[in-house]
């Protein structure tokens, strides 16, 4: 069983789109897969046509166990289940702060699912607080989408130094380029610099594409409504890279 987070301390970088498409591709290969929507904006939940409602709310979520398990919904795709988001998840930070061993709580909540699923994907909200620490403690790997711009790189540096300061293993953090526009010189140059400067940079580019935005209209992963598109191929390439570089390196 492998747990992967789509995480970033910067917003609007393509976390949800990546989480939805990667979990779909994992399930397509036959692996039992769960995607957990931890973002109160509940976009992943929306893409799978599920109502954004956790019966138990953030408080019940923190308790974990059977009630959280019963909130899991089957998506319309074989092998892929979803733990929906809920608006109350905006209070997760507060809720985590109230419990014992508060930084390892998420890990405990996910533990019972590990027997049933081969992959658990976490679609995370923007955070660098106690929730971020919970995520880093719970997952085997964190995938950070990076828009090849100065500001994004700056935020990425902040994340790495946060890990350093708080003793989180930076080796479990991988990044890939997201919303890439090859026509822009700055994008091309940033990609080259970042690839040289950091470890764990997957050579995979998700271009900035209208097809990806259309996920909101079709309410499905790209590969479902536009299987031969560039967008679909980009995510397949990213999933291949994740497998070949991170999960099953030669």
């Amino acid at each position: 069983m492998t747990t992967l987070a789509l995480y970033s301390n910067k917003g609007g970088v393509g976390k949800t789109a990546a989480a939805v498409n990667l979990s779909y591709l994992a399930a397509l290969s036959g692996a039992k897969t769960l995607i957990c929507d931890l973002d109160p904006q509940s976009s992943a939940t929306y893409y799978f046509r599920v109502k954004p409602r956790l019966k138990v709310g953030a408080k019940g979520f923190i308790k974990g166990g059977k009630q959280v398990y019963e909130s899991i919904k089957g998506t319309d795709f074989e092998n892929l289940d979803l733990l929906p988001a809920d608006f109350s998840l905006r209070n997760l930070d507060v809720a985590f702060n109230k419990v014992k061993r508060s930084k390892k709580r998420l890990r405990k909540i996910l533990n019972p699912f590990k027997a049933e699923y081969d992959f658990i994907f976490l679609d995370c909200p923007v955070t660098i607080s106690i929730l971020a620490e919970n995520i880093l403690n719970a997952v085997d790997y964190a995938l950070v989408p990076l828009i090849p711009t100065t500001l994004s790189v700056r935020t990425y540096k902040q994340l790495l130094s946060f890990c350093n300061k708080n003793n989180y293993d930076a080796d479990k953090i991988y990044t890939f380029f997201s919303m890439v526009d090859r026509h822009k010189k700055m994008h091309r140059e940033t990609i080259a610099t970042v690839s040289k400067a950091y470890n764990g940079v997957l050579q995979s580019f998700i271009p900035y594409l209208a097809q990806i935005e259309k996920m909101g209209i079709y309410r499905a992963p790209v590969a479902v409504f536009s299987p031969a598109s560039v967008a679909s191929r980009s995510y397949q390439n990213l999933w291949d890279k994740v497998q070949n570089t991170i999960l099953y390196p030669h």
Binding site: F48, G74, D76, R219
Partner: protein, 518 residues
Amino acid sequence: MQHNLKFKIPDGHNEKQFIGKLTAQYALKKEPAVAEKLTICDTFDWRLFNKSLVLYASADRLFLRKLAADEILHSAEITSLPSFIWDFPEGELKRQLTPIIKMRALLRLVEVQSRSVSYRILNADQKTVARLAYEEYRLWRRKNRSSLARHLWLKPFKGYPKYMLTLAKQFREAGLKIDKKEDLYFKALEVVDKKPGDYSAKINIQLDPAMRSDQATKAILRFLLQVMRINEAHIGKDLDTEFLHDFRVAIRRTRSALSQIKYVFPAKTTDRFKKDFAYVGKFSNELRDLDVYLLKEDTYRAMLPPILRDDIDPLFDHLRKKRAKALQKFIRGLNAKKYAKIMEDWEAFLSKPLRDSAGALNATLPIIDLARNRIYKKYRNVVKVGSQITENTEDGMLHVLRIHCKKLRYLMEFFSSLFPGKQIIALIGQLKKLQDNLGDFNDLRVQRDYLLDIIEELPMAQRRSKRIFAAIGSLIGSLDNEKKSVKNAFAKTFTDFASPANQELFKELFASTAQEVI
């Protein structure tokens, strides 16, 4: 957790009526129809059915389920339908079925075509919240194509239990009933006129204790004749070794009945048919011996040191060729006038009405008295002979004891309906343990001696290879060792059988007779 629900579509109704009703409330998304062929299999003697199991092949998989249940116990991928358990792919399915099917061939009982159409039931967000499937079964490529079963399946979808409850309620209100018991298995077999469990080589005859002995004996013999007739028709097809085996056991039992149920028929008749069936038994001996060898091929190979395992091949090739010839010879025997005449006369004798006057001394005796007398005498015989056997006794004595035991076993089986079921079954079980020991011993001895002789028969080209001699020699050694250990186990097995408690039980059940028996 919610389960799939199977609703039966009532006769005179159409699935579209029920599906149509749903479309008023939900959007339905139809998926492509799937057609499959199902081949249901069992052995000739219904070994799977007797264990309440259903084995069927569909597409490129074999499935095993319990009768009257839809849940699959095991399945395995196959490239073609296996005929024998040793053709199965390795795995749980094979492990579970090996002790049940053993050496019998799997026969295709019936081929059924299933056609199913699935629908996703969608909510207002176009999200799947439940599944619906229409399923119908017909005979595969037959003129009689009326449907065997039609069902609507309602299948829950994870995370949407309320929809399932509502839909199930709506189905019930529309007049659909949940189909729990009806198994397609029975329906399909009925249409092709097959009756599950209609053949078993086990003796199953209900006798009345007051019945005349000649009448009861004829009933037993008629049962055995039927077993011969059923099996003789299949031996030539060479499906598996057990048609011949059951045929031979029926002959042996017939001979045993003729000699052990004494003085019920005129001496002339008894003598004639004793000779006739000795002849019939004899002309199948060679074929059966070869079958036994070939069935043991894997066991023998495993006995050999790995270095010699391939060197035994010429022996089995030789035996296989020999068997092909023996089968042809046996079939010629079955088709010969002599055999036909024996069976005709025998059938005529068994169906002839009884004479009022006794044609033999015990003919009119109530069967219960004769049964008690014969069983008890034979039992004492077994105990007497067995008690004389020590470590130093010759092997031949064990053979004599084995024959006595066999006669006792047959008598107990012929007459088991006359005695309390539980006790007779327990005693037969005890006897079987002793017989197994004696049988193993005898088999090992016969096989060892046969191997010694077979060397002479091997073609010259093979006799030049020294390794075949080494392999056969090694096999003889292993068989001899095993024979010794089986003989060592005899003493304990016999003591158990002849225990005071058992002797007491035999005495109680069989010792007293109301009338004098000759």
